[in-house]
């Protein structure tokens, strides 16, 4: 329905913006235009939807000319913003893959055309996955209200819901997770009166009741084993508190936390004493790309609230044998963040095994409200770790995930307004150098401005998520499968 509407409206818009002649500028400026979103100098995949944009200056008309390296191209005019025709955009990108396109923008002010210096967009030959899945939620989450998990086709502007909590009023949907971008293996938690963990493995969907006598809580932060046979989860006693001063808003802390592994095939919770220490907060578990190492964040347990700023997580690892479903005996500290007075959250190993990307913040594990939170890249082989300056801003950079080929990553950032997280996508070349990130393109660049929800946990998916809602609804009216414990 929406897709047809978009097409219809696009045709109308194109029909009415037929004035596609080259304009003769009255004034030429040496600087590049101040765009929203800022697409100047970004690196994009060839399949990306048109990067429509606006200019942050008052104007009565806007004109943009786009050209490839062979000087072929087209121009578009608009009244408020630039909206590229999808087919021509795709064709031009395909012709210039591995190269760049150049865009010259002019705006009309007081009857005069002002032309800016052209800017370049780089078109990477590295393909990107089909789309993104993310939760849209108001940035205040202590109590549940309207929220949903959605998927977005990256080559178009089409967004469709995967699940909304309107299906089960009073519930909270969160922590969607896919096995290496494969939506055939899906985890979603539904909290509330009819809650449980929805687990999709291939064609099978199950609802898990994940509270066990030995765990602190239901399963919380998930990560799939590459085989799809296991999921690592944290179990957390989470508390949300508010800052009194301006500049800081919310603090989410763990009063206790552990890490467990769930054996999908045998419906068993696997415990490891080293991951369940009372004196240590363990959280955010992830598996390495070969599935033989379990990474997690660990901090010495501290008192709350007196010591909450001293909770600093290091990146640690523990061997895991998927054949026998057993853990190693020695915990290694992979990145000693606390020694730097910092704290690691959201470690995410690249699917090719070369890197671990994580968020570094001053303290704690809930970096999404920390302005100082930035992305860092750890080279697993060399141990070198560096800030990803090309993608970081002076606002929060937080949750991130990798594309299936490890050449792209998506991360959430509050850089636009400091309040609502938005998904940015960046390229990483074979040497680990990130390109300038670009905001998830929208048909109307004002979309993000008018949206009162944050993009939460953006994850790449290699094909559309297919969830049988009849089955899900039926499951949510059952008790669910109680997870067993391995003795």
């Amino acid at each position: 329905m929406n897709r047809k509407l978009y097409i219809f409206i696009s045709i109308l818009v194109l029909a009415f913006s037929a004035c596609r002649h080259a304009i003769v500028p009255d004034t030429t400026k040496a600087n590049q235009p101040d765009l929203f979103p800022d697409y100047t100098g970004v690196t994009i995949p060839v399949s990306i939807a048109p990067l429509n944009f606006n200019v942050n200056e008052a104007h009565s008309a806007i004109h943009a000319e786009i050209t490839g390296t062979d000087q072929s191209g087209f121009s578009v005019s608009g009244k408020k913003f630039i909206q590229w025709p999808s087919r021509k955009w795709s064709e031009l990108l395909a012709k210039n893959t591995g190269d760049s396109i150049r865009i010259t923008v002019s705006i009309k002010q007081n009857g005069n055309w002002i032309q800016y210096a052209p800017f370049t967009i780089y078109i990477s030959p590295d393909p990107i996955d089909y789309g993104l899945a993310y939760r849209l939620v108001a940035p205040g989450y202590e109590v549940y209200s309207k929220m949903g998990i959605y998927q977005r086709d990256l080559s178009t502007f089409q967004q469709s819901p995967i699940i909304e909590n309107t299906l089960v009023p009073g519930s909270c949907v969160n922590c969607h997770s896919f096995r290496l971008t494969d939506p055939g293996y899906l985890n979603i938690h539904m909290r509330g009166p009819k809650g449980g963990t929805i687990l999709k493995t291939g064609d099978e969907i199950n609802l898990l009741n994940t509270k066990t006598p030995r765990t602190l809580s239901n399963f919380v932060y998930p990560f799939w084993h590459p085989s799809g046979n296991f999921l690592a989860y944290s179990v957390n006693n989470i508390k949300q508190v508010f800052h009194e001063t301006k500049g800081k808003r919310v603090e989410v802390v763990d009063l206790a936390s552990d890490v467990i592994v769930y054996d999908v095939k045998n419906n068993l919770t696997l415990y490891c004493d080293q991951l369940m220490s009372d004196s240590v907060f363990e959280t955010f578990p992830t598996f390495s790309s070969d599935g033989r190492t379990l990474y997690f964040c660990a901090s010495d347990a501290k008192e709350f609230p007196s010591e909450y700023q001293q909770v600093r997580y290091n990146l640690c690892s523990l061997a895991f044998d998927p054949e026998t479903a057993t853990f190693g005996t020695r915990i290694d500290t992979v990145f000693h963040a606390s020694a730097l007075g910092k704290s690691v959250t959201f470690p995410r190993p690249s699917p090719d095994g070369r890197y671990i990307m994580f968020t570094l913040t001053d303290y704690g594990n809930f970096s999404i409200w920390h302005d100082e939170a930035d992305l860092y890249l750890l080279d697993v082989q060399s141990g070198e770790c560096r800030a990803m300056d090309a993608v970081n801003s002076n606002r929060t950079e937080s949750y991130h995930s990798w594309s299936s080929n490890s050449r792209w990553f998506v991360f959430s950032s509050r850089r636009i307004d400091g309040l609502y997280t938005r998904p940015f996508i960046a390229h990483l070349d074979e040497n680990g150098n990130p390109g300038k990130p670009f905001l998830l393109p929208q048909e109307n660049p004002g979309h993000h401005d008018a949206l009162l929800f944050s993009y939460n946990i953006p994850e790449f998916i290699n094909q559309p998520v297919k969830l049988d809602m009849h089955q899900v609804e039926h499951l949510l009216h059952t008790e669910g499968t109680k997870v067993e414990q391995r003795e």
Partner: protein
Amino acid sequence: MTVKNDKTHWVYGSALVLLSFVFFQSFYAYHLFFKEQVQLFLYSAEYFLTYFDKPGWLARFAGDFLTQFFYLRGGGPAVLSALFLIEWLLITKILRQINHSSTPYLWALIPVGMDWVLHTRLSHPVSVSAGTILVLLFFLAYRCISNHKIAFIAGILLLFATYWLAGSAMYILLILLVLPANKNHRFPLYKQLVLVLLASFIPYLFYQKYLLTLQQAYLFPANQPSSLLLAASILLAVLFDFSTKNIQQNHYRILRFGLPPFILILVAFGLKSMANFNLEKILSLDSETYFGHPDQVLRLSEKYQLNNRYTAYYTNLALAQSGQLPEKLMEVYQPASDGLFLPVSQHENWLTILFSNEAFYLVGDMNMAQHSAMLGMTFSPYHRSSRMVKRLADINLVTGDYPAAAKYLRMLNKTLLHKKWATDRLNLIRNGESPNWLIRKRQQIAQTDSLRKAYDHLPSVQFLVGQNPENTIARDYLLCHLLLNKEIGAFRQLYDRYARQQNLPLPSAYSEALLVSLFQAGASQDELASYNIPSRKIREFINYSNLYERSGGNPEKLVELYGKSYWFYYHFATKTAMEP
């Protein structure tokens, strides 16, 4: 004069519409103001497209478009009256077409009266009326089809289209399609059954696509099953009109003069049972707070004399704004400290959550005000609220988070009636101006940090006062919070710390509480004198104590003279279970 040429029938519809206008304008205006406050209608294509996510998009769009005018004084009553008039005209026309009866305009009063009654509920959106009008128009267009086969197929298609465009108003179409009264288009029984089954099945067919519960799918865009009474009333109107044709011919005058008063009585009965005048009073206090009229809040509060936490909450807000909270604290009903702050909790209803930001904003607790406003908005029925967006914009202006403030202001800039408000504030940002209200609010903000739980109002206010003792509103909230919870020792301690040295006239509640505290502590005359408590108040305290002892602590002997003193509250007020 033939019935057809009787132009006086306009009188009936006009009278009902006029009465509804008077009712909403004079007795129920604040419900309509509030309906606008929990809506946000933007003039943007992006916003328009969001309507396609759920059934009944055109009805919802039209309803929300009209609801924006509820912001204006008289706007809500005018819009509703106009809708009622259109409903009446269309139903009259349809009844006349399908029944060829002589008094369709009388029977058409039934659904209009029902819609009037339903609009007294916050849960009954304008989109239901808009959807009804759309369906009536569709049906009139559908009546142009004369071929029965085509009519049947068109009926089927129209059911789908109606659900898409008008949601549950589809049932009205079903009623009109299958009723035996519909002579020219009467379908055989099996075709009627097909239509009924189809209409019953359409919401089921789409509820998962629209990500709704089954109940929501059958009701949308209505929120409550009660809204379906409008469709039921149309059914009644059709049936009555059809079944009383003989009476209409033979007893035209009786019907003409007897039925309207009867319908009016039914409407009055409906209003009595469905309208919530208590909530109207609360909403009047709430809206006058929003409009920035604390004097009006105090006037209304005194007039209502309601004993509930919402009235206490808004009265306390107004008293604090005018610096009278500690002076008049005991003159109004106080449900302990529950009338100072409303909890932001999943155990509360959405109205409480939406109301709760006012106190946080007033005392300067901006993070909590923001949390409360965000949740208030997301918990409201449509998850967008012009009032909360304005509050969020102001909070971020106060905290200096201009990009966030500008985001909200740009949204409001796309509205018709909040545009000027937004433009003025956007100009503040552009020009780097700080008007007095902004300077005053900024002075309230804490400069150092501390953590607080969502429900820890007292430590938070104490922290704000500790940061800025000049924040008199927060100081009064802090001290009154302690007084209302009978924490006399803590009150005196904090009074000494934050208020005593300021040598201000001692407000009534403070002087009375200090006397209790000093008496309990066996304070010396010098110590008593150091508080500058008026001698009149000391005499009253002695008299109260004597009377208390003489009466053996009998409140009935004390209430007349001292019922509005803190001493009486301290001795006799008990906290019962939280009010709804």
